[in-house]
Structures are given as C-alpha cells and as structure tokens.
C-alpha cells in the first residue's frame, strides 16, 4: 500500500477542503459529509487502482461520493418501505442541534439524494445538464426536473444570482411519487 499512502496523504493536503464542500452539498450535513468523504476515499483506494496523483484520485473520490450518497438514499427508501411501522421520527431533529447546522444545510437535506447529486454536478462541477444526465445515467429531462426542484427549495440561495439557462419551466409528470 506504499504508493496509495503517499497519494492519500497528498489528497489530504491539497483537496480535502474541496471534497468536504462537495460532501456538504451532497448530504446537507457536515458530519455525514465527512463520513462520505472518508468512505469514498476508502472505496477508491481499496480497489488497488493505479492512482498516480491526487488530482486524478480526486475525480475518482468525487464519483465515489456521488455513488455512496445515491446508494444510501436508495437503502433508506427501501428500509422505510419495509419497516415503515418501525421507524418514527422525533419532533426535534438531531441535526438541528449539532454544530454546522444552518438554513442551507436544512434546505439541502430536504432534497432527495439524487437531486443533491444533480445540484453538485451542475453547480459545483460546472457541468451542463446534458453532461449531468450522462454522469447520473438518467435523461436530460430528469436532470432538469431535479434542478427545478432544487431551485424551488434553495430559492433563497439560488435566485440571488440566478442566470442559469436551465431554469426553464419543467412540467412535472404525473406518475409515481418517490
């Protein structure tokens, strides 16, 4: 693991603030974001990939973070379906009491994981909606729908400098609600 160690250390020195910001965007939580960053680094380097430097490793880690967030969302949904009667949420949310909690975090957490991933790809990675669709493996229309939902929830933080051409009206299709 000699080579991996040096790349991980370089990653920590050079890219960890960016990855953490990315993790916050994907989760809406500092603690969850940190866990996602750690888990993504472990996932990336445990597969014996030949990662020569931190720059190339960062791209892999970002992709792993998106996958982890979407998978976690799917798992949660599945458990809620199976164990719906067993899961009860209290009146106060634990996240509201921990450090780093604010309006942005609350607004992000109200979004579905795949919507947060679309936001991260669109506004953090600066990809077009078509590129976001390719990365997520969904249609461009679905991406526009995700971004439309995000703009609705994150209006206070997005509308101030809204120049995004993707902000077209999106017709929400009638279908199953997820």
């Amino acid at each position: 693991m000699g080579d991996s160690t040096s790349v991980v250390e370089e990653l920590y020195r050079t890219a960890i603030p960016r990855l953490c910001a990315y993790g916050f965007l994907l989760t809406g939580s500092e603690s969850e974001g940190e866990e996602v960053v750690q888990a993504a680094i472990v996932k990336t380097f445990s597969r014996h990939r030949r990662l020569e430097d931190a720059a190339s490793a960062e791209a892999y880690v970002r992709a792993a973070m998106r996958t982890l967030v979407i998978d976690a969302g799917r798992r949660t949904t599945r458990w809620r379906r199976v164990m719906s009667s067993q899961v009860t949420l209290g009146d106060g949310r634990l996240e509201d009491q921990v450090a780093g909690e604010d309006e942005v975090a609350r607004a992000l957490r109200e979004l579905l994981p795949r919507v947060r991933v679309a936001v991260a790809l669109r506004y953090s990675d600066d990809l077009t909606t078509a590129e976001v669709a390719i990365r997520m493996g969904v249609t461009e229309g679905a991406v526009k729908k995700y971004l439309f939902t995000a703009r609705e929830r994150l209006g206070a933080w997005l509308q101030a400098t809204e120049t995004d051409s993707a902000g077209v009206a999106v017709r929400v299709a009638k279908g199953r609600a997820r």
Binding site: M1, S4, T5, V8, E9, Y12, I16, P17, R18, L19, C20, A21, Y22, G23, F24, L25, E30, G33, E34, V37, Q38, A39, I41, V42, K43, F45, S46, R47, H48, A99, G100, D102, V104, A105, V119, Y123, S124, D126, L154, W157, L158, A160, T161, E162, T163, D164
Partner: protein
C-alpha cells in the same frame, strides 16, 4: 454560477476539512487496509467453496477415486528386503539411482559381511559405483578382517585394467599395502597395473620378511623379476629365509639369478 450556495458549501467544507485534517490520514488508511482484507477474504470465501464443489463434481461425475493418491513417479524401486542386500544388488546391476536412493535412506555402509561395498563395485570394475560409495563414506576394507589392506584394490588387481587401478589407488594408503596384495599383484596384474601400483607407492618388499622378487623367482616369473627390479625392488634385501640373492639362487631360474646379481652390481 450559484455563488451563495457554493460559498456556503465552501464555508462548511472548511470546517469539515479542519476536523478531518486534525484526525489525519490514519483512519482512512486503516479503512483502506480493512477493505482490502475484506476483498481478499471475500475472494477466498467464493474460491474455496467453488474448489470444493469442483472436487465433488470431479469425484462424483467423472468418477475419480478421492482416496487414490496421485501417481508419484518414483525414480527407483525400493523393496522390503534389507537395505544392504538391495545395495549390493544395485551395485552389481550398475543401478546408480537406486544406490543413491538407498544411501539417502541410510543404508549401513560400513560393510556387508566380510566384504566392503567398494570391493563389490570393483568386481565389475565399476569406477562410478565405487566413487558413489566412497563419496558416501563407504570404507575400502573391513578392519576386523583385512586390518590394513585395501580390499577394493585387492579385488580390482588382476580383474581390472590399469586405468581402473589408477583411478582407485590411494597414494595415502598404497605404501601400507600388505605382502598378500602385492604378491597377488605380481601373480595376476599386468605390467601396466603393477607399474601403476608401484608408482603410487606400493611396497615391493618388506625388509626381513618378504620380497616380490623372491616370489616371482620362486614361481618362475622371470619377466616379472626384470620388471620388479626395474621398478626399484631392492636386490640386497633380506627376507625371512635370508638374503634375497641366496633365496633366488636356491629357488629361481638362471635368468632370475643373473638379473638379481646384475642389479646388485648396479646398485
């Protein structure tokens, strides 16, 4: 670009990064190590049952006998007979691999009855077998029977040609060869073999006791008398019957007497 959103994310990210940097890379590296171990263990968990299933399929479907061991290509065949008897047979057959296998098994090499294994090798003038045995530590004589003599050489004399004699004669022990061996050499060895022995240091006489010249003269081997004198036999030696010249005059031919007298005059 959503400056406010990215700025908020960057602000949170900075706090998160500070915490992660404080913890260092150790947790991540430990996690990577654990994950790699799990991957290896997972591979083994799949591979081992797959191999077991494959073995079961081979034994039941193909019909292989799981008890039957794999064929071992044994280079030699070792029987239940005593190892020294097997070694003696292998020497006689010139079966070097079996000889080596028996030596590796720990056969007792000191002797077989009254004859050393090296002497058995010389019965066929087999120098290779002789060398294998000697390298393994087999003696040339049985000390209880042939206290000082080289029994292997004694067997070779008169049976093997001078090349074989030259390869097995030991210059260290040759000077201690007994009268029995040397008289046998006079009687049976050819000129070349006799010359090899004497050149290696074998004695031609024992002062006050015996002389190869006396033996040759007694048995009418006049050519040998000439050769032995040429090889350095002492014409003035005294044997147990008295001076050599007197013995030759009594028992030898005129030619032998003349040769010994000439040698005495020359010395």
């Amino acid at each position: 670009m959503m400056d406010q959103l990215t700025a908020a994310a960057a602000e949170h990210g900075a706090r998160m990064a500070a915490r992660l940097e404080a913890a260092g890379t150790a947790p991540a590296l430990a996690g990577i190590t654990r994950a790699r171990r799990r991957r290896v263990a997972g591979g083994a968990a799949i591979l081992i049952p797959a191999l077991a299933l494959g073995a079961w399929a081979v034994t039941t479907v193909v019909g292989a006998d799981p008890v039957e061991p794999a064929t071992t290509d044994t280079p030699v065949e070792i029987t239940e007979d005593p190892l020294d008897i097997q070694l003696s047979g292998a020497i006689g057959r010139g079966d070097y691999p079996t000889m080596q296998a028996l030596i590796d098994l720990g056969v007792y090499l000191d002797h077989q009855g009254n004859r050393p294994f090296t002497a058995t090798a010389m019965e066929n003038c087999d120098v290779t077998a002789f060398q294998i045995l000697e390298e393994a530590g087999a003696p040339r004589t049985v000390r209880e029977v042939w206290r000082y003599d080289d029994e292997a050489l004694r067997v070779a004399i008169g049976r093997c040609d001078s090349d074989v004699i030259a390869r097995i004669v030991d210059p260290v022990t040759a000077p201690r060869l007994s009268d029995t061996t040397m008289l046998q050499a006079v009687d049976k060895a050819d000129d070349a073999a006799l010359t090899v022995l004497v050149s290696a240091g074998a004695p031609l006489e024992g002062a006050g006791d015996w002389s190869t010249v006396a033996y040759a003269a007694l048995h009418g081997l006049d050519d040998r008398v000439d050769l032995l004198l040429d090889l350095g036999a002492d014409p003035d030696v005294t044997i147990d019957e008295g001076p050599l010249i007197d013995y030759v005059r009594e028992h030898g031919s005129a030619r032998a007497i003349a040769a010994v007298e000439a040698a005495r005059e020359a010395s």
